[in-house]
Amino acid sequence: MLNELLAIISFSFLGFLTGIATGLIPGFHTNNVAIMLLSLPFLNDLKGAILISSAAITHTFLDIIPSTFIGAPEEDTALVILPAHSMLLKGLGYEAISISAKASMLSVIASFMLLLPFKFFIGSPLNFYTFVQKAMPFILIAISVFVVATSRNIKNAFLIFMLAGLFGIVISRLPNSIFPALAGLFGASTIIMAKKEELPEQKIDERDESIESLDVASGVLAGCLVAILPGVSSAIATTMALESRRKSNERNAIAILSSTNTATNFFVIATLFILLKARSGFAIAIQHFLLISKWNNTPPQPLLIILASLLLSSILSFYATKFIGKIIAKNISRINYSMLLILSLAIIIAMVTIFSGIIGLAIFIVATLIGINCLKMNVRRSNLMGVLLLPLILFYIHLF
């Protein structure tokens, strides 16, 4: 019994360390790690499932750091770059990290509280999954219309949305296209268009930042929705959550986006046991490690163990995010801002090339041009999510 407990704690901690690596390295995702872990012979049961689940949750805490300090986005953090980077330029980079870590932690707690209602809603007895699946194209169309229609210049917003959407449709046929696309749309374009000013000294303030509960709630609800649907990523969830709250405050935006990101991964794991469907690469890996038994009346024991490891990893990740964020925040203003921008761009280009090759680089360049267009036309960044929304709408329409 004690040996088992030690094994669970050890693999949770190993997963936590893995998640730190994947969270801090732009373009390196837990899904990539999951594929590598599948080939290891000693990870063939619950231990592998614990490791990858812990890594997935930790990743959602740590990925705010490269987004804030380097401006390198992933699918989950594409929309958070602008508010986080904006806070960095005001000397509040550490505050952005703190808010994100706290929002992610609150998201985990809220997700635990919503787990049973979630199970009843999408599984037995209500079985709303099919209804939600059928309603999804309409939800996505409604979000798209809302994003465009609520822009200051609707004509320009529509142009950017359709340009990004067309781009998304074209690149959906190409391999490893998401990371270079988002890196260009949200990352490189921000860096290139950034005003060349001095980076102020970052304030390290340990006072408790308040986070609105509605921000966390909207993020968790959006995360619930997308966790059950195929092809719908946390990037779509963040768009939905952000548009539903309509907040222009950077702090709110970061809180919403971070809680969405964490909740999505949490409910992807829950969905695996409720619907027996894997909605992410790491969930597919868990299926390989473990024989998944459906959650009917009582939660299966493996699920309870994985949830316990998620809680442990979340607590560790909360403190790790703040700790690492503090170290970087203390030292980043020593670097000349222009040099930091060049370095950031170089890192992003290197990551794109390593993970996506020459085709990825071509995608990245075109995406950067579209992102620059968006900034020059003064159109809200959410419109660039057309890159994911439009292909997804077409995919769901095709299904029905």
């Binding site: 074209v170 085709i359 267009n373």
Partner: protein, 188 residues
């Protein structure tokens, strides 16, 4: 405006690249890993219902949605399409279907069919054999050593005993009588 034109030119270039790119070639056993993605796979058509048909490769089957209907049972096809979900099942929404091997591209012997019936059940087959006993709407087809026999439903069965024929039809199994038979036959 300059950036808009450059972006459109870039998208056109990527479209050209995407036409040259081929999605991964996947076994039917692994299509579950590619939900929402485009793949290429192969299989033999074992069932057709409206705009949907079922393919099999080895022990795995999958449903395919396609508006193309000019395929027969037993045709071995290559499909390029997107993996999706419908009513809790994984299906492929075909963008492109290519015929790799027509079902009547090879003529089988009865012993071979008997040994490999799993690969041909519910498919069209072309078998060579000899007529053994002929009745009003069926006859028995045997191999040259009279070791294997199969019932062939065919109207106007007026053949000479031991006449060599090539039978083209669909291999089925009658679970009540526990026997294999050929239906919808065309005899040459």
């Amino acid at each position: 405006m300059k950036y808009v034109i450059l972006a459109i030119a870039g998208i056109a270039f990527l479209y050209g690249v995407s036409q040259l790119y081929s999605p991964p070639h996947v076994d039917l056993s692994n299509i579950w890993k590619y939900e929402g993605k485009e793949i290429i796979t192969e299989g033999k058509i074992i069932n057709k219902i409206g705009s949907m048909f079922e393919i099999r490769n080895g022990n795995y089957t999958c449903y395919v949605y396609s508006w193309k209907k000019d395929f027969s049972y037993g045709d071995f096809v290559k499909i390029r399409g997107n993996v999706g979900e419908k009513n809790g099942m994984l299906v492929i929404y075909a963008n492109e279907i290519k015929l790799l091997k027509k079902w009547d591209g090879e003529t089988l012997t009865l012993p071979y069919l008997a040994e490999n019936f799993i690969d041909y059940i519910d498919c069209n087959v072309s078998i060579v054999g000899h007529v053994y006993a002929s009745y009003t709407d069926y006859f028995y087809l045997i191999d040259e050593y009279n070791e294997y026999r199969i019932k062939v439903y065919y109207e106007n069965s007026s053949f000479e005993k031991f006449q060599k024929v090539v039978v083209k039809g669909r291999l089925r199994y009658n679970s009540h009588r526990m026997e294999f038979y050929i239906e919808g036959a065309n005899v040459e």
